[in-house]
Assembly symmetry: C2
Homo-oligomer: 388 residues x 2
């Protein structure tokens, strides 16, 4: 097993991230940007903790027009934040529901935006505001004269292009989980429950050096599955089942996100054919995923193969997506997404199709866009459905 890449990032990387965002802010006329979610705050600070799972306390990061971001956070996070490149750390004793950081945040924003500036907050697709709506209204009331504008595009443009160090983390996760998938078949036995199989898989990922397996969905059904987001059941696997595991495992806060299919003998022809069509669709997506191509071009390349192969649509609504600090990120491979692929983008290719009533199959691989085309981050799945 190869050594994992170094943890964290050099300060120069955070500086570059802030400066790139600040250029975009300047061209949008934003005096400051307010961020509230785990991924956005971590992207600009390196602040990595599972403590975000507790909904009690909001966390705020203010990206000014120039210079380092300012953390406005609960006292409990000061020690960890002080180990990042952030210097200006303002705290309040939390929980304090009467003023959960709002007065401190308002003062900070006021001094960055002045009396009539423009404050950016991500408000568009795939974003949300991680603070109580009532507190957001209170904040608004404290900032008369300040215009609030959508900063989604600043965040999206910044985070969508991964640095070499980010790609290295994702790549390492992809490689290790690929090996876990490759080693899985001999450990699987007929009659083992989905839950047992999922547990084995998680244990193997942890033993392979992944930090966490935060996402694992799928299951086994006879002749193909219908549900692609379910948790495992206690149903024992049976002859003719098609088993799918779709996982998001992390290394240093970065995800892989791909799946593998296995069959328990006997395998009917329609299942083998579906596997082959999906395999070919993934190849077509890979070939189409070049710098300068649009997301919809990659979608169309895959959909053409799926339709020719008898695919009857799919419920996921897209055939792949961005990947990084979150298990799914912008862009989406849909018929309408006109995002231009650029070097440094990390994507999933995720063709899916219903091939018989109530029977679907999904393939998924992870790729990075290099200057001369796509590169696999995952080991390519086997060209023929592995049979157990």
């Amino acid at each position: 097993m190869s050594e994992p890449p170094p943890r964290g990032f050099p300060e120069s990387e955070f500086r570059a991230r802030a400066e790139r965002a600040q250029q975009l802010m300047a061209s949008s006329g934003l005096n400051a940007m307010l961020l509230t979610t785990e991924a956005d705050v971590r992207y600009f600070t390196g602040f990595l903790t599972q403590f975000w799972q507790s909904p009690t306390r909001p966390w705020f990061l203010v990206v000014p027009a120039a210079g380092k971001p300012i953390a406005v956070i609960p006292e409990i996070g000061a020690a960890l934040m002080s180990r990042t490149w952030i210097e200006d750390i303002r705290t309040w004793p939390s929980p304090r529901p009467g003023d959960e950081g709002i007065s401190l945040l308002a003062d900070t924003l006021r001094s960055e935006c002045g009396s009539a500036g423009s404050l950016g907050i991500p408000m568009g697709a795939e974003t949300f505001l991680r603070m109580p709506l009532d507190d957001y209204r209170r904040l608004h009331d404290r900032l008369p004269g300040i215009d609030v504008a959508d900063a989604s595009e600043v965040i999206r443009s910044s985070r969508m292009i991964k640095s070499p160090a980010e790609i290295e983390k994702i790549s390492w996760a992809c490689k290790r989980v690929s090996e876990v998938f490759e080693d899985l078949p001999p450990t699987l036995g007929l009659g083992m429950s989905e839950r047992d199989i999922f547990r084995r898989f998680k244990l193997a990922c942890l033993e392979a050096g992944l930090d966490d397996v935060t996402y694992l969905v799928g299951g086994a059904e006879h002749g193909g599955y219908n549900d692609i987001i379910a948790p495992p059941s206690d149903r024992p696997t049976a002859p003719g089942d098609v088993l799918m595991l779709d996982t998001g495992a992390t290394f240093d806060g970065y995800y892989c996100d791909f799946d593998r299919n296995y069959a328990f003998a006997p395998v009917v022809d329609s299942v083998r054919q579906a596997y082959d069509v999906l395999y070919q669709a993934t190849e077509a997506g890979f070939d189409a995923a070049r710098p300068g191509a649009l997301c919809r071009d990659v979608f169309r390349a895959m959909r053409t193969v799926l339709e020719r192969g008898g695919g009857q649509g799919n419920v996921a609504g897209r055939l792949g997506h961005g990947l990084g600090m979150q298990i799914t990120e912008w862009p989406s491979l849909t018929p309408d997404d006109a995002t231009t692929l650029q070097p440094g983008m990390v994507l999933t290719l995720e063709p899916a199709m219903t091939f018989a009533p109530g029977k679907a199959m999904v393939h998924e691989e992870n790729i990075v866009i290099d200057p001369d085309g796509a590169r696999w981050l995952t080991h390519r799945a086997l060209p023929e459905l592995p049979v157990i």
Copy 2:
């Protein structure tokens, strides 16, 4: 190892949850309630999936004034939602950024609220709106005449009192993780890194039957730790270190949340004393946690012991909290929280104190409020600091 409790809940439980919320809605004059977060949607439906980790798609649940809730969700979730007690499932093909379910949701809310009704949305402490802010504005624009009010208290009052089946799930998680902690010391060796120790702990939890270890923070520092929310480092443990692991592990979507402390010899007196003070503070909290007592009473009982023991405050800002579908829930054990303890509440007792400059310690146990007082859900920690 005892058998785990059954997965899921009978339909009668979901019906009771909906009816209790609907009574509270009626007394608040709400015609309908809109829920958007994983825990709130799952509470009323049983819809359990890790797919929420993907931020791409919003999910909506509309609780009407009477009858079963209505799911307004992306197509990809229809199969799983149809396996719950929910019958009215309305879907849109997602992702569709131009209309990410908003028109469908607006129509649904309009028919529940009429032309001038009142719509409840959780807006208060520990809540957030899991949908893009721009989409929320669009929704608002489509519902002129409808008053939007805070529904936090409906959700809080409903979820804060756990059913016997919920308590059984939490209890099972607490018991299994208690055993993992008890079995840990012989597997720990001086020089092992925090990361190795964390990995061993996660593996042991999965092997003990927990579904996931979504939360594990802590670490080891000489003579006491300062940071209580950090991820593990690669630093090797050394003589005199105090090691703390604080975990939230889940069974069937319900959390335990507690920690344990261990020391690597030699142990200085101040560390032993801090451990003893925290142990006694937990006992005092347990004794004070009776039906009818207020959260602040339990806080004060613990703080008195901490102050007498030389505690110099702590950065967590509270000495415990609710626990259930989320690793932290309402209420908080703070000087001001006037929530009355009632049978069925599940709480953490989490006394923490700084006992020397930069040196803190935290204890944590989980309890449930029974009609005649508190009951431990975790195995009680050892009365003396375990030394390795």
